[in-house]
């Protein structure tokens, strides 16, 4: 078994593309091996700014020889048949093998040297490599058909064992020569093989393993902060990005003028992170400190003094810009910043952001006044101190101010700070803290891992904002399709669902949606919007292991749109259908439902007790239904879905016995009718909990 080393050395690969490139390289390489009937014991990939590498361990020296056998005519067949077969196979009669009177053409395909397979596979991979964006370069680019790579590709090392796998792709001849760190070790290095690759480059101040670079950045940045009596604000995204920007990462700690700490910490952190890719630090009290950690790519001869000084200057210039925006915005005030909303278009068919804010206020009022979103679930503090009138007043105030920060200089510079800046500016102009909190948090949750808003005013404004967005785009026919969701409607729906579930808000989404009429827009298709929400719920719950067919089974009963109740019923159902009772009841239910379907018995049937002499199993089932029906109905009313399932479970044995002992299709029409009605009762009883016909399996 032999190891293979591939290194593709280029100009700087964007950090954000490196992980995907490793994945694609491994996938394409494995696919090319598979095509040749080869597989590696292990494939390891590395990516950094200037090289993408792969090591495949445990490759055989050659592919296995294959013997291909083609059956021909019988030896006794007429000469025409034989001639045809010889033509087809290109063989002569003497080369055929006879077995049991039948002729066979047997071709031995010898194994191919693995090196030869690789020499064809690598150029194919390089030519077809799926970079998110690629380019042409150099004299070769006189043709638009010239090779494309993410940035100019300079050299390819391909070593099988210690031997160069020879090939040429786009004017680059494979070899065993690489170079080390751009400044520390720019000279040529002769690589000896896969085993020594990492070590040879380490000696040339290149850490090829991205995980090792990330670990160094993580550890060293934390240690530097700790040495300064601070705590690093961890940021895995920054770790990965800096690991993608360096071959030899050297974290360095610098300071900035304490006066900049007047600027909100989010602004400082964002400026440092987005513009400069620096970490920030907290002091002992958890407050942002006037320190940053940048990651250099060299061991400077002065220990990094100049680098820290330079980076500090750049950060200071950035922060003084940010402070200028912050002060200008504060001077203008949140109210005045809103005067620009008329010029900010929400969507060309949906008016400006000022109009949107008004609609959010109105939907927020509906949520409290009509849908009573805070009345039926657990109390969310400080609701107990707020009358409904107070709630509505705060919600309307927050909603109307919620978009004003879009007119601020700071949000113009850093769109990610929308909401957050509004919160600061609301506080500064003396708004109620809950109003400021609502403005700050109403965009939440921004992603799947982001928190949902948890203050009542923020919850209402957040839900109202997202419902408005969804309804507005649905009303102009801009629904997400396939992978396209340009207005983030799926994310918005998911945000609403999570906010409702986490805060246990009890209301029917349908009630709110049914009341919303957006000025100047057609009435939204409420059923369509509800179905959209249910789809999102299924996707979201799939990760939590909840079955989508069970959501359908519960939703099918009257279009349940109280998300909390729906889920709690689904959870009980899922627990039940995996029990023995549940599986058997489902089987009994399906049998009953199939008979009813075949007989054309639909919907609820009126029930009158039969007058003929009941068979024991029949009588038992009626008795069981008499007992279970009221229990199940009561439990559903009390939202005790486990109890409802237990009531149904009591039907399992009587149903099984009924099917064993009783003939539904009796010759006596009276008995037949009565027994079908009994099965309809079974079906109806089960449907008090869920539409079992939607359950798969």
């Amino acid at each position: 078994m032999t190891d293979f080393l591939l290194e593709l050395r280029s100009e700087e690969i964007p950090a954000r593309m490196q992980a995907g490139a490793r994945e694609n390289l491994a996938k394409l390489f494995a696919a090319e091996l598979a095509k040749a009937g080869l597989s590696a014991g292990e494939i390891v990939t590395y990516a950094g700014p200037r090289r993408l590498a792969l090591i495949a361990r445990g490759l055989p020296p050659a592919t296995e020889a294959v013997s291909e056998e083609v059956k021909g005519p019988r030896a006794s067949a007429p000469p025409q048949a034989l001639e045809g077969f010889l033509r087809k196979t290109g063989l002569t009669r003497e080369q055929l093998t006879e077995r049991d009177g039948v002729l066979f053409a047997i071709t031995e395909k010898p194994g191919r040297a693995t090196a030869q397979v690789l020499a064809e596979a690598i150029p194919a991979i390089v030519r077809a490599f799926p970079w998110p964006k690629s380019m042409r370069w150099g004299a070769e680019s006189a043709s638009t058909e010239s090779m494309r790579w993410v940035r100019p590709l300079h050299a390819i090392v391909a070593l099988f064992g210690g031997e160069v796998v020879p090939f040429e792709v786009a004017g680059i001849t494979s070899g065993n020569v690489t170079r080390g760190h751009r400044f520390h070790a720019p000279a040529e290095i002769l690589l000896t093989g896969a085993d020594t690759y990492v070590a040879q480059l380490r000696a040339a101040k290149v850490l090829v393993d991205q995980d090792e670079r990330a670990a160094i950045i993580r550890a060293r940045a934390s240690a530097l902060a700790a040495e300064a009596g601070l705590e690093l604000v961890e940021d895995e995204g920054l770790v990965a990005e800096n690991a993608g920007l360096t071959e030899w990462p050297v974290p360095l700690l610098g300071r900035f003028d304490e006066a900049f700490l007047e600027v909100p910490p989010e602004v400082i952190q964002l400026t440092a992170r987005v513009n400069q890719k620096y970490f920030v630090c907290r002091d002992g009290n958890g407050k942002l400190a006037n320190a940053f950690v940048c990651t250099a790519n060299i061991e400077a001869t002065d220990g990094g003094a100049k680098i820290v000084e330079g980076n500090g200057k750049v950060l200071a210039a950035r922060l003084s810009d940010a402070r200028f925006f912050y002060e200008t915005d504060l001077k203008a005030g949140l109210q005045n910043l809103g005067s620009k909303l008329g010029r900010l278009i929400f969507h060309e068919k949906l008016g400006d952001m000022g109009g949107k804010a008004e609609r959010v206020a109105w939907i927020g009022r509906l949520l409290v006044e009509q849908s009573k979103i805070f009345s039926n679930g657990p109390k969310i503090e400080p609701l107990s101190t707020l009358s409904e009138g107070d709630q509505i007043r705060l919600i309307e105030t927050a909603a109307k101010l919620s978009k004003n920060d879009l007119g601020s200089g700071m949000v113009g510079e850093f769109p990610e700070l929308q909401g957050i800046m509004g919160g600061y500016y609301a506080n500064a102009q003396g708004e109620d803290p809950q109003v400021a909190d609502a403005i700050r948090n109403h965009y939440k949750p921004v992603g799947a891992s982001d928190d949902v808003p948890n203050g009542p005013i923020a919850i209402a404004v957040s839900i109202a904002d997202k419902l408005d967005t969804i309804l507005a785009f649905f009303s102009i026919g801009e629904k997400p399709t396939g992978s396209k969701d340009p207005f983030g409607l799926r994310r918005a729906a998911l945000g609403v669902i999570r906010t409702i579930i986490v805060n246990k808000l009890r209301f029917r989404l349908r009630d709110v949606l049914g009341q919303v009429q957006l000025p100047g827009l057609s009435v939204p298709d409420v059923d369509g919007v509800i179905a959209f929400f249910i789809d999102r719920l299924k996707v979201q719950q799939r990760e939590a292991g909840v079955r989508h067919d069970l959501i359908d089974a519960v939703f099918a009963l009257g279009g349940e749109s109280d998300m909390v109740r729906l889920l709690s019923r689904v959870h009980a159902l899922q627990a039940f259908v995996t029990t023995d009772d549940g599986t058997n009841l489902l089987a009994g239910y399906k049998r009953a439902a199939n008979i009813l379907k075949k007989e054309g018995v639909e919907g609820d049937q009126s029930w009158t007790a039969p007058t003929y002499t009941l068979e024991p199993a029949e009588a038992d089932l009626i008795a069981a239904l008499d007992a279970a029906e009221p229990k199940a109905a009561e439990a559903v009313r009390a939202e005790d879905f486990e109890a409802a399932m237990a009531a149904l479970a009591s039907l399992r044995a009587p149903i099984d016995r009924f099917f064993d002992d009783v003939t539904v299709n009796d010759a006596d029409p009276a008995k037949r009718t009565a027994r079908l009605a009994l099965l309809a009762r079974v079906r109806a009883a089960v449907h008090t909990v869920a539409d079992f016909s939607r359950i798969e399996g």
């Binding site: 100009e11 700087e12 964007p14 950090a15 954000r16 700014p49 964006k133 690629s134 380019m135 042409r136 370069w137 150099g138 004299a139 070769e140 680019s141 006189a142 043709s143 638009t144 993410v150 940035r151 100019p152 300079h154 751009r182 400044f183 920007l245 400069q276 620096y278 940048c294 250099a296 790519n297 060299i298 400077a300 001869t301 002065d302 100049k306 680098i307 000084e309 330079g310 980076n311 200057k313 750049v314 950060l315 210039a317 010029r343 278009i345």
Partner: protein, 295 residues
Amino acid sequence: MQTRNGTPEGPLSFQRMILTLHDYWSERGCVILQPYDMEMGAGTFHPATTLRALGPDSWNAAFVQPCRRPTDGRYGENPNRLQHYYQYQVILKPSPADLQDLYLGSLAAIGVDMTKHDIRFVEDDWESPTLGAWGLGWEVWCDGMEVTQFTYFQQMGGYDMKPVAGELTYGLERLAMYIQDVDNVYDLRFNDAGVSYGDVFLENEKQMSTWNFEIADTDTLFDAFRKAAAECERCLEAKLPIPAYEQAIKASHTFNLLQARGVISVAERQAYMGRVRDLAKGACGAWMDKNGWAA
């Protein structure tokens, strides 16, 4: 203290830095051009970049181009922002294989010590909607500061580059501030005889900011835009791509001035940019035709 050839030791003055870059690129076979005598927003607009980037012929040039960005004016009060500044532009076609090394050599020539400073190539894809151009490359960081835009042009005027040209755009003031270690652009030593950048340009920044933002007559500008666009089209009809391109440059700068005067709404902005793009593309197309190059 003077060295033998009259250059003082220590960091280069602004003009000495330019002369050094001229020497460096001249020694590497570039045509050293003088600035184009028209107002433009970036060195990329210089016909030596746009038009010469098109077509199959080899072309290597370096030049300083004054850039006008009316909206960046700060009346001389901001230490980092100017409505008029200099770019050093190098264009090499086809892009040489050692372009990164050549570039780093130029940094070393103007006194950047790469054993003490952290030079990084950070992804930055370049696009000029008004030129119908795009390319891939980096912003080059020196200790976290962007000092150069490094681009492999892929398209210009809507045409694929055949072959690709490499473009280096150095922000001269930034680089000089870095090399001279000053925090305010007006404190830069312009030469080695006591003249500062402020001595040369401060009053200019004050007056031009006032004119850009407050005085420039918008009717005249609108009129100038229309006339430049019309003249561009006349030139295109007459199959004169170079004068047509000059009129496109004029229209582009006039549009920038109108923006600074705040008289172009968000909705109109796209339409104006589209108009300039059409003019520039038209000129590029006519240039291709004139030279008999296929798209």
